[in-house]
Symmetry: C2
Subunit: 324 residues, 2 copies
């Protein structure tokens, strides 16, 4: 049976380095990390097999990767997932990826070392293959990565509902703040639904792309400024997140546009702030608690080798407040 | 050496029950749990000693107990703690206690079984003894539990700064929304500082107690309504959290009081929403990132058996925006 010395020798690194890779400690270049894992695979090296199985048996820990728990939507989602996980006897490891692929990789490596029983991905910066060859219970939120089961709200219908409300209220030119359309995000279906509906109704619209995962007031304000400067006649805005919608609201007030008289605004998510802002923000409510529940259940079903639904799309709800 | 069978027999329960207590699985009454732990202590039973030490050696996991990551202050704090922990090679287990002592106890039990290397307490519902006899690295945020090292912002000075600003702006009667003064929370020093300053300056004030850890719009609104109904001549408000202050702002606007003309409002924390609300909320900024950094460092110092500062009080900063 291969030892840690065999791995070190064949990989051309020190035993300390192998140990660091295994224990995820200290700085290791990506190249070295890959090399060590490759040699471990070749030699079929089993690091502390007993420990691994014991760890596995006793882990009862789920991992959650999100961009940042500071973002209100992800804060509410993390809260709901932790609650459901707890009800099933699991603890939750929190990873704020901050869209940092090195950090995300560490969590995926940890998974490889059997330190969590399953992982929920609400952010991904790595290549599809990095996830799909893990062979561990995985669930994604709002993104399609290979064959990994996903949970999403009915983004397309949500986008259509938003368009219909603004049009029914008389908007003639709608500004839409979408996510980054280059990413294969299910949340981009909000844009699909919105644009289809606006086209069908013959209402003019302009779409500005943002980074949905990023929470940066300055970036938001820059895009909002650009949109209103290039199209000062916009009389309705559909933002793909409530947070962006609230920044649009602030922008409008700063520049003397009254909401909803001059500009009607609708967001997406229904975070807490949507109801306590003044005026209250109309929005498309994501069923956060149901999404959390299904995500955890999908992990449990995989652990029990049960057949698993690949696509879970949960209904959204139009919540009308004062901003429209 | 005692076996799991010995423990079960002496405790008068099944082996399955002992196993459940050890693995924290399924429903176990608090009475049974205590009995099993007591017998384990009496028999000096070491469950899977090898597993425990391996787990211990490899844990690299810190635990964080907060009321709810959904609350913006705790969301930002959790985000900052996770970042610092990650920089030191540690992962973060998130526990939203929801002020549920059974849930909090499970996390403390987990600690006992060596599943985390240290724990940061931003919430506590258990008795002091439940923590102090753990003999594990512990740090609290904003609360004093026995001899456990704590990290806090300079609450007393923060309260005084808030009072001074409102008085300098001409407020003659200040409503103060404090935390629950029966709890031994360091954040209650905000009230001490505020009241001392107001008394010194001879300015009238009324204090209404709330549950700082609770995030419930209805409860907040009820207290705010009561305060303004009983004291309609209040022309300044110091709320012990920004979230409460934002609800006061909303209440004022709903009932035709203009901010800051009729009522000047200042909060505490400087959460993100304080800057993006309209009007911007004046507040006392807690150094969240520094608090997170110190909390993690204090755990690391304990792990390395270094001498540890028992009291860490970090400076606050007055942030003046439009609400005052």
């Amino acid at each position: 049976m291969a030892t840690i010395n065999d791995v070190a020798e064949k990989a051309g690194v020190s035993v300390t380095t192998v140990s660091r890779v295994l224990n995820n400690r200290g700085y290791i270049s990506e190249k070295t990390r890959q090399k060590v894992y490759q040699v471990m695979d070749e030699l079929n090296y089993q690091p502390n097999e007993l420990a691994r199985s014991l760890l596995r048996k006793h882990s009862n820990v789920l991992g959650l990767i999100i961009p940042s728990v500071e973002h209100p939507f992800f804060g509410e989602l993390a809260n709901a997932i932790e609650s459901v996980a707890y009800q099933h006897g699991f603890k939750l490891l929190l990873c704020n990826s901050q869209l940092d692929s090195a950090k995300e990789r560490e969590y995926v490596d940890m998974m490889r070392r059997n330190r969590v029983d399953g992982m929920i991905l609400g952010s991904h910066t790595l290549e599809i293959g990095d996830y799909t060859n893990l062979n561990y219970p995985l669930v994604t939120i709002d993104r399609r990565i290979g064959d990994i089961p996903f949970v999403a709200s009915d983004n397309e219908n949500g986008g259509a509902l938003a368009a219909r409300l603004l049009i029914a209220k008389g908007c003639r030119k709608i500004g839409h703040l979408s996510g980054n359309m280059k990413l294969d995000m299910l949340s981009n279906l909000r844009t699909t639904g919105f644009e289809r509906e606006a086209r069908q109704e013959g209402v003019e619209f302009v779409t500005y792309q943002t980074e949905l995962d990023v929470f940066d007031e300055q970036i938001y304000n820059e895009i909002i400024r650009k949109m209103f400067t290039e199209h000062p006649d916009i009389d309705g805005v559909f933002a793909t997140s409530d947070l962006m919608a609230l920044f649009v609201m602030k922008w409008c007030r700063t520049f003397g546009k009254e909401v909803p008289r001059d500009v009607r605004i609708i967001g997406y998510d229904d975070i807490g702030a949507a109801s306590w802002y003044m005026p209250g923000l109309s929005t498309i409510r994501q069923p956060i608690k149901d999404m959390a529940r299904r995500a955890v259940e999908l992990l449990l079903e995989q652990m029990d080798d049960k057949p698993v639904e690949r696509e879970t799309v949960l209904p959204v709800e139009l919540v009308e407040r004062e901003s429209t």
